[in-house]
Symmetry: C2
Subunit: 182 residues, 2 copies
């Protein structure tokens, strides 16, 4: 088991990197294997079949995201929800985050379609992000749990509109009036 799981854990980061750049649904064994410096034969050997590979990969990516969020924690807290929203939105739109965002929408779509493993990964990532968002709210926020969910709803809606080419007027003009308090 030690050797096997060690190999799997060695493979997963490289596979995840490839998936972040080329997508998850369209990925096939041979390109994945080449990206990880091995063969399709060995991927099946280590993961059993492709469905399991995808499931493990999703779990691994959720883990990456989780640790990234943990690393992003800390620093001075914002003073208002609006400030919190803007800060996170800016981070979400950062070019560095784009491969992850693209993959995120693919995961959402797979979750909606019922592709095995996708919903679990999406749920895990969303739960983690909600917990993280709670810690990012202003110190004096009257309802951190509810506020995090409200902000997340607004955030994801805004990001989605951006993906679709409606980042401009989307929520910009409106948030000034509605994002103040709870």
């Amino acid at each position: 088991m030690t050797k096997t799981s060690l190999s799997r854990d060695t493979l997963l980061p490289k596979l995840a990197a490839h998936v972040l750049n080329h997508g998850l649904g369209g990925a096939s064994l041979r390109p994945l294997a080449k990206a990880a410096g091995t063969s399709d034969r060995m991927l099946i050997y280590h993961f059993g079949n492709k469905e399991q590979l995808v499931a493990d990969l999703l779990e691994h990516i959720a883990g990456i995201y989780s640790t990234a969020l943990d690393a992003a924690m800390g620093g001075e807290k914002p003073n208002t929800r609006r400030e919190c929203f803007d800060r996170i939105l800016k981070q979400g739109r950062h070019p560095m985050m784009q491969p992850f965002m693209v993959l995120w929408w693919e995961i959402v779509a797979g979750s909606a379609r019922g592709v095995p493993g996708y919903r679990e990964a999406a749920d895990a990532m969303m739960t983690k992000q909600l917990a993280w968002l709670e810690t990012q709210l202003p110190e004096d926020d009257p309802d951190p749990a509810g506020g995090a969910r409200y902000l997340m709803t607004l955030l994801e809606g805004t990001l989605m509109l951006g993906v679709v080419g409606h980042e401009t007027t989307a929520s910009e003009g409106l948030l000034a009036s509605d994002l103040s308090g709870s």
Copy 2:
């Protein structure tokens, strides 16, 4: 041209029906052809290649959606934005709408990934829906354009959280306090 486009127009509804039930990205020519009562050979003949077929299909589906929205228009207007939000959310979560919603997230994901044709379709559908949403706002709404965008952001965020298994606490608790005025 007449015969050709007539055949194309005959095919498109059946193709769209199949795509709504089985997805767009994973659809391949032979199953599509069988669903439309023809052959892969003829699909290529009528559309040139698969990319063009997908583009035409997306445009056709956007058209379907547009007319569906037009048909849904009318009726008494809601009295508050909150009422408007609830009504549309309920409609969006209706089982009858689910195939369309599933496809919608696939289109969003394709748009994010840059798949040819997806972004245009997503943009068209979103633009149409925003225009429709403006007409659905309360008569006395102080800022219909902005309000539609705000509601759309909230709506799409809520629907996305639902797809991912977070429909419960998502925005429910919060909307009471924040959705009142402009």
